[in-house]
Amino acid sequence: MTPSGLEQSTAFTVIWWVVAAMSVIAATLVVRLKDVLRAALALVGVFISVVFLFFMLNAELLAVAQLLIYGGAISILIIFAVLLTRDVHEGSPSNALQVPAFLLSAGLLAVMTFVINNTDWKLLSAARLAPAAQERAAEVFANSTPWLAGLLMRQFVLPFEVASVLLLAAVIGALALLREE
């Protein structure tokens, strides 16, 4: 069941294909571009198209978090690293493994596509739920942020707290690595 008829609409389909094409093209550019800085900008393109995908999946909080953390912080960090370690003449060369790696990733993609298309997914739209339960599910997706907060603060509160310790450890570790002796 869908919260609205939005997902059946032609506009949703058209926007999905545009965003999907954008993300795949940008991802290919990350791997193919010779200039590392341009590859980093293409990576930002992938991050932004994932923001659109999250909005289309009713994950508003994640879409905003993706925009702030990936589109903002991580891309700035990566661009800084590109500028600090830049070898203009070297660019972004590939090693000798290009052919076996291509075959391996193509095989991986083939296996994943096979699994995706041959699994018997227990779809929400095909589930035999009571009408009240269906309404409840629609309500969860129509207003996902408070529900996500509730889940994060009750059932997943221990991993949530451990994640903060992980971030603190990462910050201290990065500082310790880069400190001048």
């Binding site: 791997v31 590392v36 990566i78 590109v82 009571a130 889940l151 992980l166």
Partner: protein, 118 residues
Amino acid sequence: MVGLQHFLTLGAVIFAIGFFGAVTKRNLVVVLMCIELMFNAVNIVVVAMSRYLVPLAMQRAPDSTDAAVAQTLLTGQVFAVFVITVAAAEVALALGIVIAIYRTRRTADTNELKLMSR
């Protein structure tokens, strides 16, 4: 009509591209960028699964309108929150390591870095 399979296939394509790049690229920063691609592909997949699939708690209690059952629909989004957190920590540390290596050895090329080979 776009469904679960479309999102999963898109995630698989981006994951495969990121895997190819992470294995073949010689610049350490580009390898990191490809790992970020793989993280994003996984995030698309878990959020799409959370949107389209019935969680086990709902399959077991199809009549329940309990909030504890309904909120399990968003478990995939919680997974994505943790993936984003771990990715942020990973980028901060890994870029620190890349810059430390570049400072001491004047290179960020994976072919030049063979401290562990004899």
